[in-house]
């Protein structure tokens, strides 16, 4: 079966810095795939290319059989890719409910004239949309925050709201950028459960960037490791755990020797 997301040797340069260098990655439908690597390895840049925020300098991106290279986020989102952000990017002044309703934008029809004349169709659509948004809030357990400004929500709730907002676009592929950053252990367990649920209940394919190895090892089907913009390894959690290049990238050369000595 063709992969849902297929990145073929994509590269992104910023001036002299090669942030992502000919990275290949294929993610199958229904997979949970993690991208790990030290800070500055190019993980978020990779996400930005897939979601259309950046255009790759070379290489091609395919999603669901379509070539999406060079498309902007406005075109990519309706195809079924949605994302969250490393440093939470909610619409802070809008309520939690409205944040989700912005996520539903591409699935709603009301235009300028139906809004100005407040047509029955517009009213009906707004009511339906609000109802659907409440369902999504229920799904992430944030119903009680519906009318609260997103910026006032507790940190963990903001992360979950961002996921709910991404779900509102009805994605086939969800990109999660450090979903557990800044969470306490209890919230982390909850998040792990949530991510699994997204795949198992909703059938959404997930690619996540994460530093927490415990979480990554526990939920990923496959892991890709980036270092200095290149993919240095890819495989199941078990394979990655043993890969000497990964250990070297994370712990440095000396440590990896010691590690090798210890395991030998």
């Amino acid at each position: 079966m063709a992969p849902l997301l297929h990145a073929q040797t994509i590269t992104k340069r910023f001036g002299g810095l090669v942030a992502v260098s000919s990275v290949d990655l294929a993610v199958g439908a229904g997979e949970i795939c993690a991208i790990i690597g030290p800070n500055g390895a190019g993980k978020t840049t990779f996400f930005n290319m897939v979601s259309g925020v950046y255009t790759p300098d070379s290489g091609r991106l395919f999603f669901d059989g379509k070539d999406i290279t060079g498309m902007g986020p406005e075109q990519i989102a309706p195809l079924g890719i949605s994302r969250t952000f490393q440093n939470i990017r909610l619409f802070k002044a809008l309520s939690a409910l409205e944040n989700i309703m912005v996520g539903m934008h591409i699935h709603l029809q009301s235009g300028l004239w139906s809004t100005i004349f407040k047509t029955p169709a517009e009213r009906r659509e707004e009511r339906e949309a609000a109802r659907e948004a409440v369902r999504l809030l229920d799904y992430v357990g944030l119903r009680h925050f519906a009318n609260e400004a997103a910026g006032n929500l507790p940190y963990g709730a903001q992360r979950r709201l961002e996921i709910a907002r991404a779900l509102a676009t009805k994605p086939k592929l969800l990109l999660l950028d450090e979903p557990k950053a800044g969470m306490n252990p209890k919230e982390t367990d909850q998040m792990m459960e949530d991510i699994r649920r997204l795949r198992d209940d909703l059938g959404i394919t997930i690619v996540l960037i994460e530093h927490d190895m415990k979480l990554v090892m526990a939920i990923s089907d496959r892991i890709a490791v980036l270092d200095y913009g290149t993919k240095i390894a890819e495989g199941t959690p078990e394979e990655i755990r043993r890969n000497p290049r990964v250990i070297e990238a994370y712990l440095g050369k000396e440590a990896s020797k010691e590690h090798g000595a210890a395991t030998a």
Partner: protein
């Protein structure tokens, strides 16, 4: 005291009584003092509108009281006090302008320092064709008409002015879409100046705007054969348009489009990633805000019966921005109160002070009317420093979640 008052206004039992009593008393006093000390009682009367907005009362009572003040008291008093009526017309025009600018700056986050350019576009468009001016450069078509187009054309020209101003907004929006914040502000500032300088200089080689001398006389609107050339007519035209603008703003605010604008204002990258089309939504915001200004420009032109470039200076753009910021960015009630306060202070309070200077033989440098730019500057600085959210901050309106989910 403020706390006591806000408690009283929130009290569902006592608030309606208070609102009714205050409005009636203020109306009565206004009528009694319709000539002398009118400024003071006009402010007290306007205060009743604020109380009606804030008070917890039946919606129909509120609408009724506001209609009494706006539809009866002000016009009746205005028939005898022309200056007051003139201020009221300018309040209505400025409220609509502040709302339109608020759409661009407050809703969509697009800082526009040339907003008065759209206002000028609407004013000039009608003035050129509804005055002898058109005959100066289009001699053939208007030969038989002494005034250019007669006043019946006011009504069909309203949608035309709206359309042309929206087109100007669109045209301004296109090249500046990639710009944000300061850069956008500079380009829009330039746009406003270009419109003013064009109107100043387009008297040659073909005389389109009649340059600094301006255009006059402008044909007053005619409705069902009646010529609307009294201030009271303009008052009701301005109020009607203002109410339409208020309703449209309100509907846009809580709609798919309003949310998309807000999302762009809050975080462009996140908005894009949710599939919100930035280009389209920004152009729409520019065009809609401009459209309101175009319509009000026409009202302004017929009210003055004379326009020239001096009415459309950068200072006017800043004044409208000061109204929006004073009231609260993104807030509809805020823009209304901001426009009212700034207009009344500018046209009524400062003028009164200037007049009293003469009465008491005070030196001219105390004439506060000359310190207008200073006053706007102070308003902007003080608001930014001490109350960024404005006098009446924007509030997201809560949705009754339980009622919403129970319905089905």
């Amino acid at each position: 005291m403020l706390k006591g008052l806000s408690g009283l206004l929130a009290d569902a039992k006592r608030a309606p009584v208070l609102l009714t009593a205050y409005t009636l008393i203020a109306s009565g006093l206004m009528y009694f003092f319709r000539v002398d000390y009118a400024t003071l009682f006009f402010i007290l009367l306007l205060l009743s509108l604020l109380l009606i907005h804030l008070g917890n009362a039946n919606r129909w009572l509120k609408v009724g009281l506001a209609a009494l003040v706006i539809g009866v008291v002000i016009p009746v008093v205005g028939l005898e006090n022309g200056a007051l009526l003139n201020v009221s017309i300018m309040v209505a025009i400025n409220v609509a302008l502040a709302l339109g600018l608020n759409l661009q700056v407050g809703f969509a986050g697009l800082l526009d320092l040339g907003y008065v350019g759209f206002f000028a576009a609407g004013a000039y468009l009608y003035s050129i064709f509804a005055s002898p001016q058109a005959a100066r450069f289009l001699p053939k078509v208007f030969e038989s008409l002494p005034f250019g187009l007669p006043g019946d054309w006011f009504w069909p020209f309203l949608p035309v002015a709206i359309f042309v101003a929206a087109g100007a907004g669109f045209a301004l929006g296109l090249p500046v879409l990639r710009l944000r914040g300061d850069y956008l502000a500079i380009v829009t500032l330039g746009f406003g100046e270009i419109i003013r300088i064009l109107s100043n200089n387009l008297d040659k080689p073909v005389n389109i705007t009649n340059g600094p001398q301006g255009i006059t006389p402008i044909a007053p609107p005619v409705l069902f054969g009646i010529t609307l050339d009294k201030s009271i007519h303009y008052y009701f035209i301005a109020i009607a348009l203002m109410i339409i603008v208020m309703v449209v703003m309100r509907r846009l605010e809580v709609s798919r489009i309003g949310r998309a604008w807000a999302s762009i204002r809050e975080d462009e990258i996140a908005a894009k990633s949710m599939g919100v089309p930035l280009t389209k939504m920004k152009l729409m915001a520019f065009a809609m805000g401009a459209a309101f200004a175009g319509a009000m420009g026409m009202v302004f032109a017929v009210k003055q019966t004379f326009i020239n470039p001096a009415s459309f200076t950068f200072n006017e753009s800043i004044a409208i921005l000061a109204m929006v910021i004073l009231g609260g960015l993104g807030s509809i009630p805020g823009a209304i109160i901001g426009a009212t306060v700034v207009t009344v202070v500018r046209m009524q309070v400062l003028t009164d002070l200037a007049n009293s200077l003469a009465t008491y033989n005070l030196p001219e440098f105390l004439n506060l009317a000359k310190y207008q730019p200073l006053i706007f500057g102070l308003i902007l600085i003080l608001m930014m420093r001490y109350r960024q959210e404005g006098l009446l901050p924007s509030r997201r309106n809560p949705v009754d979640i339980d009622a919403l989910t129970k319905e089905v």
